[in-house]
Subunit: 316 residues, 2 copies
């Protein structure tokens, strides 16, 4: 019996999910699907990888028919807000459409499978300084093509829960950080440059940035995985949970911390090409629902995450 099917398992969160399952001593089978195999599949996990582009509905259906997993962790996503401005159609195809393909495959061939659908804090849109952090009951006001695609994914999930009684649980996940994240994401990219400066013995780093005044809720990817497990194991079908640290930090402050930890002084250089057509100033979440209902809490402080990320880039 296959316990876990992980889509997009070659990605950032996927690699940490595999670590997590390995660390729990899971002995049942894990299957990964996606366009790239994970580089770090732990040796003694019973893991196999099938190369499938989730846009290929037919091939996906055939695989789901064979695998019939107990859990499907749907991590596959084109998750960059920046890229969604350049390729809005791709953002839709690789969020909304692949999810629809997955749901149709599960509905037809494996309706007992519990699916974890990953949404985004970007769905909320902008919040003003005076307001509280985002609650799951707040109104959605997506401000980018990616945010719209994730709202669509969530709405489709709701429709399939209500109309077909599919077993889907959902998240709105805030900004992930951690080792192995692509340098295209702000903190990973900055950390890589700080580590490089450090390795080169440079005392000053001139750092090209976009808007670093934005305040985000950065959560360590390992906390993300433990939250997903809590939701997967205990949430009701159709439930939606924020996955966040609950604390807002300006990107500028993260850069200051990276500078302090690495011992490299920094000079900011704003690059117009890194500014986006529109950007939410403050995106901070509340995990009160997840804590109160399912007992989950984040455990990794921001400084620890940043130290681990710098260490990762120093080694790579």
């Amino acid at each position: 019996l296959v316990e876990y099917l992980i889509t997009g398992c070659g990605g950032f969160v996927g690699s940490h999910y595999l670590d997590y399952l390995h660390n729990t001593g899971l002995t049942e089978e894990v299957v990964g699907i996606g366009t790239t195999a994970p580089l770090n599949a732990p040796n003694d996990l019973r893991f196999s990888f099938i190369e499938i582009n989730l846009l290929d509905a037919k091939k996906l259906g055939e695989s789901i028919k064979k695998i019939r997993p107990r859990f499907c962790i749907h991590l596959a996503s084109m998750s960059s807000v920046a890229a969604s401005w350049v390729y809005p159609d791709k953002s839709f195809n690789n969020n909304t459409n692949i999810f629809l393909n997955l749901l149709e495959a599960v509905r037809h061939y494996s309706p007992e499978t519990r699916i974890l659908s990953v949404g985004s804090s970007e769905q909320y849109g902008e919040v003003s300084l005076q307001e509280e952090s985002f609650m799951e009951s707040d109104r959605l006001a997506p401000q980018s093509p990616y945010a719209v695609a994730k709202c669509s994914q969530e709405m489709i999930g709701q429709v399939y829960v209500e109309s077909y009684e599919l077993d889907i649980v959902m998240t709105r996940s805030f900004n992930h950080i951690g080792p192995r994240q692509s340098e295209h994401f702000a903190i990973a990219g900055f950390s890589r440059l700080f580590s490089q400066a450090n390795n080169n013995g440079d005392e000053l780093l001139v750092l090209p940035t976009g808007n670093i005044q934005v305040i985000r809720d950065f959560i360590d990817v390992r906390d993300v995985v433990s939250a997903y497990e809590a939701i997967l194991r205990s949430a009701h079908p159709g439930a939606i949970y924020n996955v966040c640290s609950g604390r807002g930090v300006a990107l500028a402050n993260v850069i200051t911390k990276l500078s302090e930890i690495s011992g490299v002084r920094v000079e900011i250089e704003t690059e117009p090409s890194r500014l986006r057509p529109s950007e939410n100033n403050i995106v901070v979440g509340s995990h009160a629902l997840l804590t109160n209902k399912l007992g989950w809490e984040p455990t990794i402080p921001l400084d620890q995450s940043l130290r681990d990320i710098l260490k990762y880039w120093q080694a790579n």
Copy 2:
């Protein structure tokens, strides 16, 4: 100069839009695009048709670059809720994705064009008996793949207005009825059978139906067109208006009226294949905003619509 570009102009609303423009004595050029040419383009309208599948972003872009219309009436849509349950992916492609292609084309090649984006009452979801009719400020709760696709279309529209200052005005249009509507839609299909029975001299019609207890807000397609014109001419960019009659009628009552007008007795036969995985019981809108802000009101009573529809099917 091209005054109007009409997408999906070979469809039901498109044909009536052409009639409307003809009746107003429009002398500027009208271009229709879509996969099927209109059958009834009025002779003395300066009209030309270009065959384009809006999924073909490249061809669409090239056309928009050439045409640069003042107004774009975006009617192209796979607009059947029933079909969206069978082909959810097609429903997305032919609502959300084609709209995205249109916006990208206009953004790049004709940013001055004002676009009318047609949404649906289905975006609201179910309303209980006690509640009032839907207002534009109500929360959306889509209950079908089609409804989700139309919510996505609207959200994308908002993003492009706010981020790129595109000039988009939007509707949430309730159930259209009128001559030339495809028989796949309930009232058109029923009317066709009543007219057939009438032409054959049958006194009794055994009518296969789905759930006819549902209450809908049926608006004559000619009132729809006049509402679209009012919105196109006077709404602010980003505005969203309900387009509806403001009155709720059970499908069962419409059948009774069709029976009375045609003089053919009717016996209902519920067909399980016509029942849907989920269905909103009551969908009735308020056009207070459109009336108060832009002075539009519906003018065609339901009985008149039904008489015209029966007449159309008797002749076809």
